[in-house]
């Protein structure tokens, strides 16, 4: 009966089992982190909104003035920053969006609208600092108005949603 009650054997067995259970629990307990994809899609939606076939659409620029501003950006680009009320998410704000319109040649915002900033401003400073920080993506696009005047549009998007994407 030496082998059956061998403390050594069962200790090893329990250690291996414990390690496997721990690894499986960690692997399957880790939430899927989709924030990179979310911030990328937010960028893509804004880029699509500001460029229709390479030109600024009428709802953004009417030929003389930029109609887009902080108040109407979400409506114009068909976005909504309402989230589930989880861990106080709605109060904090889980998204941040920054859109800057520049003269393509001079890279100057002179006579152009100021950068549009919407959402939780704090996310900008914490961009991509680590796993438990917001995920951000920035992008530059080139568009023309109907007089073929070129603009550069800088887009920065940030998604927080830490509690549902990281342990």
């Amino acid at each position: 009966m030496d082998k059956i009650i061998s403390i050594y054997w069962f200790t090893v067995l329990f250690l291996i089992t414990g390690a496997i259970v721990y690894m499986v629990a960690i692997f399957y307990g880790e939430p899927f982190d989709v924030r990179d994809a979310e911030s990328h899609l937010l960028n893509v939606q804004i880029a699509d909104c500001f460029s229709r076939g390479g030109y600024l659409p009428q709802v953004i620029f009417d030929g003389e003035n930029f109609l887009i501003n902080r108040e109407n950006l979400l409506d114009t680009c068909k976005l909504s920053f309402v989230t589930e009320d989880f861990s106080n998410w709605n109060e904090q704000g889980q998204y941040y969006l920054e859109v800057e319109i520049l003269d393509f040649d001079t890279k100057s915002p002179f006579e152009l609208p100021p950068p549009i900033r919407i959402g939780n401003f704090n996310l900008r400073e914490l961009c991509n600092l680590g796993k438990r920080f917001p995920k951000c993506e920035s992008q530059k696009i080139y568009v023309l108005d109907k007089n073929n005047f070129p603009y550069q549009i800088n887009i920065l998007s940030a998604v927080r949603k830490v509690e549902k994407n990281v342990i």
Binding site: A25, L41, K78, L79, F81
Partner: protein, 130 residues
């Protein structure tokens, strides 16, 4: 020690090890096919699909693994979309469910969910202007 004793010892030893390993594998496989994992996976996947969608699209998503993993006695709709709150809820069991939000302000409707999901394992989403 007799010959018979050695045989019995070895058989008990092997059986105990097999029992131990079976419990371990059961645990691992139960974790792999757990409805909770599919609830999270599909609610996030559907939210991302909606975020990338444009009005006028019809999107079909194969949810065979989720349908297989759902509780046998759970016969309700598996996917719910709240266009007001921008939420996707995937529910594969009586007690449970996982919801995730999307930011694209479109109107999403589920086409023939019961028929498609339970018979063809397909979820069909129709995207219209919000």
């Amino acid at each position: 020690m007799k010959r018979g004793d050695i045989l019995t010892e070895n058989i008990i030893f092997i059986i105990l090890n097999l029992v131990f390993l079976s419990i371990l594998f059961l645990f691992v496989f139960s974790k792999m096919g757990s409805p909770a994992i599919f609830e999270e996976k599909y609610s996030k996947q559907i939210a991302l699909i909606i975020d990338a969608a444009k009005p006028g699209m019809e999107i079909t998503l194969d949810m065979e693994d989720a349908v297989k993993s759902k509780d046998d006695n759970f016969a309700q709709n598996l996917v719910f979309i709240d266009n007001e709150k921008n939420l996707v809820l995937v529910k594969l069991r009586e007690r449970g469910g996982y919801y995730y939000s999307f930011f694209n302000d479109v109107n999403v409707s589920i086409v023939e969910q019961e028929h498609n999901l339970l018979k063809k394992n397909k979820l069909v989403l129709e995207i219209t202007d919000g």
